[in-house]
Symmetry: C2
Subunit: 399 residues, 2 copies
C-alpha cells in the first residue's frame, strides 16, 4: 500500500505526502540510512523525537546477518528494530556495484569521489582490489564479506527476501554500473536490469501482499538515450514509485543531467527517489529537479567522525576535533533546538570525541539528523509558499 | 553541603538519604561511573529516566583532558556534562595506584583479579610494565598517558582542582597501595595519606565553599591495625563522609574483613562509600556490612562488551555473542521494564553486537544500569522492611 499526493509545485520542485501502512511521509523527505536495522548510536525513540519520517535498511546486509528468516520470525523488520514508522529496504543492487565493479574501478556513484584510489598518473588502479561479485544474465553470485560463504541473488529471490523483511517500500535487484563502464557495457547491464525489473514485479504480484510497495529503478549511467529509454520502460510497468540509481556520471553536473532527462518522463503522480545522494547542495539541486525522496549515509557517517552540520560554515560543516573548538562554549549551531544544542557546548562535544567516549557519536548524530530534518521541513514549507528558489539561494550563498 | 539521614537498619545494613545541593540520593546507592564526564553512549536524559541518582567522574582524567579551567569556565562539571543531579569526583588516588604500583605488581584492588599477569611460576612479573608515577612525601609526579606531559598533584592542588569542577562530593588525594605491598610500605603510605588528608581538609575549609562536601578516605591495605587506626584518625577530622579505598586484600574475604574492621569505628551519622566495588554478590555483602554508597565501572564496561545482567543466570550475566541467543526473541531479561527489554529481543541485541553497531552499547548500557538501579531499590525497600537477609539469600541462591 502506497498512496502519493502532490499538493504544491514550484517549477519542477514538488511538495506532497506519501502514505504507507506505517504512517505518512511529507515530501521532499530525506530517508535516514539504517543499513543493518540500526541508526548509529541513536534509538528509535530519539529518531521519533527528531522527527525522522522514514528509515532505509539494506536487504543485502540483513540477508547476510542476521538473516531474513530470523527477522520474519521476529514479526518483520519494523518489530525487530522497534521502528513503527515507514521503512524501506534497498535490494543490494548498490552492493553488487560497490563490491564488484566499483572495487575494480576504484570509483563511487560519481566517479570523482574516490580520487584517493587513483595512481600517481591520475589513473584508477584496478589491481588494488578484487571483486567479490559475479553478475550473469539471471542474477548475481557473491561472497559474504563476513565469512566468505557463497550466496546467489536473483530478482525473484530478492523480492521474496524483502517480503520477509516487510518494509513498506522495497526495491528490485538491479545492476548499478560504474561511471567508468563504457556505453556498450552500460547498455547490456541496463537490459539485464530491465529484465530483472519485470521478474521482480511478477514475483511481487504473485504474492498475496497488499501492505508493501515496489518501486522501479531507473538506471542507464550518464547516457541520455539509455536513461530516457529506461525511464519510459519503467514508467510503463505499473510500479508504485520510481527510484533513480547510479552511476550518475563523473561530476555533479552529470548527475543533474540524469535527473533532467529522467524526471520529465516519469509519471507525475508517483514518488521519485534518488538513491544515495545527500550533500546539502545536492538536496537543493535534486529537489529543484523534481525529486521527492533521497537517502544518504552522510549525516550519520559524518557524525561518527566528528563532523557536524552548521549552516553558514564552509561546506555546511565543522570538524569538531579542530583546536578552535577547544574552549568554544557555544552550542554546535547557534539557534538550533536539537537535544544536543540545547544541552551541550562545542567544547564538550570536542572533549567527548577526543576522549573517544561513545556518547560523542550519539550526540553528534542527533544534531546532524535534526539539521537535515529541519532543512527538509524548510524546503517543504518553501515549496508550498513558492519560496523554494529563494531558500536555495539563501542557503547556498551562506556557505 | 551534605546532610545524611538514616531511617532504617537491619543489623548493620542501613537505609537512608543523602541530600546534596543538586538533589537527594536514597541509600544504599550505586554511583554510576562517568570517568570522563560521560556515561558510555547514554545521554543524561536517559540516565534520569533509568533513575540514576549520582554519577562519579574522575578529577585526574578531567585534569588531563579537557582541563579543569575549561570546565570551570563552562559553569562547572554539572553544566558542562548536562547532569543536574548529584555528582562526585574521585581525586586520582586510584590512578596513582593503577598507573604506578599496580602496573609494577600486575594487580588490581584485590590481588587475584589480574592473574594473567603472573608468570609461569605464579609470581607477578614486575618487568612487564613501567610505572608512570612517582610518589614523594608531598605529592605525586606523573606523566600524562595522553601526551607524555609531566604533571604534579599535591593534596591542596587536588582540592583546588575539584573545587573548580564543582561536584557535590569530592575526595582528597590518597595513595592506594597494592595488595602486594608489605606492611612496612603500606604503613608508610598510610602515614602520607593521612597527612595529605589533613592538608586537603585545611585547603577545603580555607575556601569559601558551602556547596560541596569533602569525604575522608580510609586506607591501610588488608592490615587490621592500620585500617582501625586510619578509620579512627579519619573519623576524628570532621569530614562530611567516609570513603573506603583499596587495596582491599587478596580475596573477597579480605575485603569483607576490611569492612568489618572499619565500619564499626566510623561515625554512624555520616555516609560511607566503598570505592570501586560492584559485583552483584559484593553489593549484598558490603551493604550487609554497613556501606551506603558504592561505585563501579562493571555495568557500563560489561555493556560495552556485550555482557548483560540477568537475574538467575550464572554470575547474574549472559554474554549476548553466544550462539544460543541467535534466534532468541525474548527480551534480555523476562519481566524487566527497561527501555531495551520493552522494545528489543536478545536476537536483535546480538545482531547489533555482531554487526558492530554503536546502538548495541547504548541499549546494553541502558539495561545494565536499569538492572543495578532496580536491585538497589529492592535492597533499600528490603532494609526498611527487615527483609534484606531474605532478599540476599533469594538473589545469591538464584545464580
Amino acid at each position: 500500500m502506497l498512496s502519493f499526493e502532490l499538493f504544491a509545485k514550484e517549477d519542477d520542485a514538488r511538495a506532497g505526502k506519501l502514505i504507507t501502512l506505517h504512517g505518512l511521509i511529507e515530501t521532499p523527505s530525506f530517508v535516514i540510512v539504517g543499513t543493518q536495522a540500526a541508526v548509529k548510536a541513536v534509538s528509535v525513540k530519539d529518531l521519533r523525537k527528531i522527527g525522522i519520517q522514514m528509515i532505509i535498511a539494506n536487504a543485502y546486509h540483513l540477508h547476510l546477518q542476521p538473516g531474513e528468516n530470523l527477522i520474519e520470525k521476529a514479526g518483520g523488520l519494523h518489530r525487530f528494530m522497534g521502528w513503527e514508522g515507514p521503512l524501506m529496504t534497498d535490494s543490494g543492487g548498490f552492493q553488487i556495484f560497490s563490491l564488484g565493479a566499483a572495487r575494480e574501478h576504484g570509483v563511487g556513484k560519481i566517479a570523482s569521489i574516490f580520487p584517493e584510489q587513483r595512481d600517481r598518473g591520475g589513473h584508477f588502479n584496478s589491481k588494488k582490489r578484487k571483486p567479490l561479485v559475479r553478475v550473469d544474465e539471471d542474477g548475481v553470485d557473491f561472497i559474504s564479506y563476513l565469512d566468505g560463504s557463497l550466496h546467489r541473488f536473483t530478482p525473484r529471490r530478492v523480492v521474496e527476501l524483502q517480503l520477509k523483511l516487510g518494509a513498506d517500500i522495497i526495491l528490485p535487484l538491479d545492476e548499478c554500473t560504474s561511471p567508468l563502464h563504457d556505453y556498450q557495457y552500460t547498455k547490456a547491464a541496463l537490459k539485464r536490469t530491465q529484465r530483472w525489473a519485470l521478474q521482480a514485479l511478477e514475483e511481487f504480484h504473485r504474492r498475496p501482499n497488499k501492505s508493501q510497495a515496489l518501486m522501479g529503478i531507473v538506471q542507464g549511467g550518464a547516457y541520455q538515450d539509455l536513461r530516457e529509454q529506461c525511464a519510459q520502460f519503467i514508467s510503463d510497468q505499473g510500479f508504485d514509485g520510481y527510484a533513480i540509481g547510479g552511476s550518475l556520471g563523473r561530476s555533479k553536473m552529470d548527475m543533474y543531467h540524469v535527473l533532467e532527462w529522467t524526471n520529465p518522463i516519469l509519471p507525475q503522480d508517483k514518488p521519485r527517489h534518488l538513491l544515495g545522494i545527500g550533500e546539502i547542495e545536492d538536496i537543493f539541486e535534486v529537489v529543484q529537479r523534481g525529486i521527492d525522496l533521497i537517502d544518504c549515509v552522510l549525516p550519520t557517517r559524518m557524525a561518527n567522525t566528528g563532523t557536524l552540520f552548521v549552516k553558514g560554515a564552509k561546506h555546511f560543516r565543522i570538524h569538531i576535533y579542530n583546536m578552535q573548538f577547544k574552549d568554544d562554549l557555544r552550542p554546535v549551531e547557534q539557534g538550533c533546538i536539537c537535544y544536543t544544542c540545547r544541552h551541550y557546548s562545542r567544547a564538550y562535544l570536542r572533549h567527548l570525541f577526543m576522549a573517544k567516549e561513545p556518547l560523542a557519536t550519539h550526540l553528534a548524530t542527533i544534531h546532524n539528523l535534526y539539521f537535515i530534518e529541519s532543512l527538509m521541513k524548510q524546503i517543504r514549507v518553501a515549496i508550498k509558499e513558492k519560496g523554494f528558489k529563494q531558500l536555495k539561494e539563501e542557503w547556498l550563498s551562506s556557505s
